[in-house]
């Protein structure tokens, strides 16, 4: 008897675990919406799922009855029925009504999500981010704040953030699943949309959302991840101030870092900027901006954020992101040089 109870308890836990895991990770899943856009889309998913499950139940009901009642038992020839106008009208009209129930909110949401009038308003204070996608990395420019960062998008919570998207090489697609659906970064034109990051839900997700590239763009398409740091408006403003105050590259703190900075200035600075100011045109920003590299959470968007991985990455980026545009653009580094570079890069911080 006790064993049975245990077994029941276990299965109960299993079901609960399944339901919980059924929604995916809060920093990644579309089923844990963390903002207005994702909420709207989640509601649409829910509505369509309910309608569709209803349809499936009706079909399955007929299906099961047919299976049990009309198997061949003898050699009789059934009555040849041509059809039934009444029935056929029923299963034409009801689907039309069901689709209308779905079509109306779909159209209204489609227009709502595309509403970016605020972006054209010169006096608006709304945060705008120019997203520029490159082969396997992301560039984020804040035109009003005149700062640039890469790989980790920083956004204020509880307000609409507007995005202006374009690709600098091949087509990519900008997607933060937990916060809202994707929009392609075309090579031809600028696409615009908005997202909103919910403060409470961001907290639950650890304030760090996962972003993905959702359009096949070459060998390392799967590794073109980015991260989104959502923070309160005050924190965001403080971060912007810190970024704006960096006019010259951060001074190296240790002798080793100083050595690293020398190497960096010789071999890396041709592509990688270490000041956040958006002085250069977007076409000249050919590699991720590293101004606040020490404060990021991943190396190259995918590797753990520590010195060892920084060294691994510089040693041979090709093994981590095949087809990247960094490989072969700089001389081979010795172990000492790598140590120095890693020390310098990890020390690049803008917030005190």
């Amino acid at each position: 008897m006790k064993r049975l109870a245990n077994w029941r308890l276990f299965s109960l836990f299993a079901i609960v675990a399944l339901v919980l895991s059924g929604c995916g990770k809060p920093y990644l899943s579309t089923l844990t919406p963390a903002g207005e856009v994702a909420d709207i889309q989640y509601d649409l998913m829910g509505l369509s799922t309910i309608i569709m499950v209803g349809v499936i139940i009706v079909v399955m009901l007929v299906f099961v009855i047919v299976f049990f009642r009309f198997r061949r038992k003898d050699d009789r020839i059934p009555k040849q029925v041509e059809g039934s106008h009444k029935l056929e009208i029923i299963w034409t009209v009801i689907p039309i009504l069901l689709l209308l129930v779905l079509a109306v909110p779909t159209v209204s949401a489609t227009f709502k999500l595309a509403d970016v009038k605020t972006m054209d308003d010169k006096n608006s204070k709304a945060v705008v981010v120019n997203v520029r996608s490159h082969l396997y990395w992301w560039d984020f420019e804040y035109p009003k704040q005149k700062i640039v960062t890469s790989q980790e998008l920083v956004v204020p919570t509880d307000e609409k953030v507007y995005f202006s998207l374009k690709s600098m090489d091949v087509k990519h697609s900008f997607w933060i699943p937990a916060v809202g659906g994707k929009l392609d970064t075309n090579t031809d034109n600028i696409n615009k949309f908005w997202l909103e990051f919910d403060a409470e839900k961001s907290n639950e997700a650890g304030n760090l959302f996962y972003g993905k590239c959702a359009e096949l763009c070459g060998p390392s398409h799967a590794l073109m991840d980015f991260k989104v740091k959502a923070m309160s408006k005050d924190d965001f403003n403080a971060w912007v101030k810190d970024m704006q105050s960096v006019k010259a590259p951060e001074k190296a703190q240790t002798a080793l870092a100083q050595q690293g900075q020398d190497i960096f200035n010789k071999s890396c600075i041709g592509c990688h900027a270490v000041t956040p100011e958006n002085k250069m045109p977007e076409t000249a920003r050919i590699a991720p901006n590293l101004s606040n590299f020490g404060e990021r959470s991943r190396v190259a968007g995918i590797l753990d954020h520590n010195k060892e991985e920084v060294k691994n990455w510089i040693r041979n980026p090709e093994t981590y992101k095949p087809g990247n545009t960094m490989t072969g653009k700089y001389p081979q580094m010795t172990e000492d040089q790598l140590n120095a570079l890693a020390e310098y890069l990890m020390g690049l911080k803008v917030q005190d």
Binding site: A38, P177, A178
Partner: protein, 624 residues
């Protein structure tokens, strides 16, 4: 003298198939070639699932993975599903309308060889420096950016095989319009013939946009044009439009014949005429029509704006209505019937819930605002495998079992058929159901790997195990085919015993002229009507007379071979290879030479004389 019934050596048989213009033999060619490419595409699918079974896997490299997914999609759509559909159209449609062959037998053979050489050309890329790697959609910015000759193989291979498909479609249209037997009005045509008809019309209108797109890309990649070079004023979104104006009707080109095959099966094995035949025909035509109005739902995230997205969302939802009509008509065909669960019926029965699943996720995807979340994720992968595998492939497997006796004169083993069904069916749901959730949990499609810690591990493993089950099903089918062919137990006209349409009124396989005398059709399910009146065969509509037949020809083969050779020249011309230009011209010379030869040579075919036909009867004692 009748040579056609004699046993022949291997060489003679091969030559026979290389030169045949008989729709039944061309059907077998399509079946073999399509089946071969289906196995290749299947192996590619297995590689994909092995690579994704565990996170950070290195079974294949990132670059190779992209080649595999590109070739899996391209092969399955263009080189497996399409030709297999064509196999059944060729094998069955002329018989169903009571015709002796298609309208243009020569063109029919040409269509096959073009498809075949295009497919071979495309697959040779594996051995010649790498396969295409820009996805089966080959979006322009990535395709232009792609190094090596992979995408060139895609462009030229699809161009050649696409030509074959296009002329095949035209041929079927002309055949159905002109060659129906006396009494076979449009509204008495079996549903498979109707779907062949609508599909052929779709091919006629859908393939030209693809051809245009491929020509533009060919000029960009091979001859220095800039149609898709944004920096030079080109535009890549145009490619997306051209591709999907073709690509969306293409899914209906595949699914409508599948609907046709299932309609035949439901009616046959329920021993009932198709419920709501007229509305089924109407729904087929409507789906074909609406199929051209919805292409931009593949581009909801391209940034076309809310007006376009809303219009295409509503149009897409509208397709759900005729499809729903069909589902209920099938259910009510079985309702009140006497349903026998043969192997084909297993597939047809299982198709209903499977396809409904694929259909409802289609409606979910149609909801534009929500599609921003689904687009390019595993949710979409799950959806289109539910419609294409759950619809088209189940129909092709069902059709293989159903029409095998008609094509080869012997029945596939039913027990093994059911084993194939169950392993394939269970494996299919195991592989793809879980992928809906992977997509919703944030896994993009076309990723060569995924990092641990994102909650994707277990589900991907389940999916990969499912793929193993599907493979077992296909292997059992192959064993079944071999065993059946070795045993070779001959069957009669109507081996299933429940045949309703004209193809079951003649021997299996039919004589090369199909009908000794064209049959008189007295209503829908013509053969069933005669059977119900106690007759064993159709009433002839004409007296026994001479039959005019076309001669075999090797020219379709050489015409296609020429383009195959020319494609190599065009492709390597880019590398400044000295031999490239001569090869291009030699190839074109072979093609145009063959065409010229065909034009100047008078080929009136031959006649089978009345006396020979009567001798046939006496010799074999078989009534046709």
């Amino acid at each position: 003298m009748s040579t056609y019934a004699q046993k022949k050596g291997f060489g003679a048989t091969l030559w026979d198939f290389l030169t045949t213009v008989d729709h039944k033999k061309i059907a077998i060619l399509y079946l073999i070639a399509g089946g071969f490419f289906f196995l290749i595409g299947g192996i590619e699918a297995v590689f994909i699932r092995i690579q994704l079974a565990v996170p950070n896997n290195d079974f294949v490299s990132a670059g190779a993975f992209n080649e595999i997914i590109t070739m899996h999609g391209t092969t399955m759509i263009f080189l497996a599903a399409m030709p297999l559909v064509f196999a059944f159209m060729n094998a069955v449609m002329p018989l169903q309308i009571g015709a002796r062959d298609v309208a243009f037998p020569y063109v029919n053979a040409l269509g096959f060889w073009l498809f075949f050489f295009g497919g071979i050309f495309l697959n040779l890329s594996w051995f010649l420096g790498g396969a295409p790697d820009a996805g089966w959609t080959s979006y322009a910015s990535l395709a232009i950016h792609s190094k090596g000759h992979g995408v060139d193989f895609y462009v030229l291979g699809l161009q050649i095989s696409g030509l074959g498909t296009l002329i095949g479609g035209i041929n079927f249209l002309v055949t159905i319009i002109n060659m129906r037997a006396p009494g076979m009005t449009y509204m008495r045509m079996p549903l498979f013939t109707w779907t062949t008809f609508v599909t052929s019309a779709l091919i006629l209108f859908a393939f030209p946009p693809l051809t245009v797109g491929l020509v533009l890309m060919m000029f960009d990649r091979l001859f220095g044009a800039n149609f898709f070079e944004v920096a030079q004023g080109g535009n890549t979104v145009i490619w997306e439009h051209l591709f999907w104006i073709f690509g969306h009707p293409e899914v209906y080109i595949l699914i409508l014949p599948a609907f046709g095959i299932f309609s035949e099966i439901f009616a046959m094995f329920s021993r009932k005429r198709l419920f709501g035949y007229s509305s089924m025909v109407f729904a087929t035509v409507l789906i074909g029509f609406l199929g051209f109005m919805v292409w931009a739902h593949h581009m909801f995230t391209t940034g076309l704006g809310p007006v376009a997205n809303a219009i295409f969302a509503v149009a897409t939802m509208a397709i759900g209505v005729p499809t729903g009509i069909k589902i209920f008509n099938w259910l009510f065909t079985m309702w009140g019937g006497s349903v026998k669960f043969t192997t084909p019926m297993h597939y047809a029965f299982a198709f209903i819930p499977t396809f409904v699943m694929g259909g409802v996720t289609g409606i979910m995807l149609a909801s534009a605002a929500a599609d921003y979340q689904y687009h390019d994720t595993y949710f979409v992968v799950a959806h289109f495998h539910y419609v294409i595998v759950g619809g088209v492939v189940l129909a092709l497997l069902a059709g293989t079992h159903l029409y095998w006796p008609k094509m080869f004169g012997t029945m596939l083993n039913e027990t093994m058929g059911k084993i194939t069904f169950w392993t394939f069916f269970i494996g299919f749901h195991m592989t793809f159901f879980i992928q809906h959730f992977l997509g919703l949990w944030g896994m993009p499609r076309r990723v060569f790997t995924y990092l641990p810690g994102q909650g994707f591990e277990t589900s991907n493993m389940i999916s990969s195990i499912g793929a193993a089950f599907m493979s077992v099903g296909v292997i059992v089918l192959l064993i079944n085919i071999i065993v059946t062919s070795v045993k070779n137990v001959r069957v009669g006209n109507d081996p299933w015993g429940d045949g309703r349409t004209l193809e079951w009124s003649i021997p299996s396989p039919p004589p090369f002229y199909n009908f000794k005398q064209l049959p008189l059709v007295r209503g829908l399910d013509a053969y069933w009507i005669e059977k119900m009146e106690g007759k064993k065969e159709m009433t002839p509509a004409e007296p026994l007379g001479d039959i005019h037949m076309p001669n075999s020809s090797f020219l379709p083969f050489t015409t296609s071979l020429g383009l195959f050779i020319a494609a190599f020249g065009a492709m390597y011309h880019v590398d400044d290879k000295g031999w490239a230009l001569p090869v291009l011209f030699i190839g074109l010379l072979v093609t145009f030479g063959s065409m010229l030869l065909r034009s100047v040579k008078d080929d009136h075919g031959f006649h089978i004389h009345k006396e020979e036909l009567m001798n046939e009867d006496d010799n074999k004692g078989v009534k046709a």
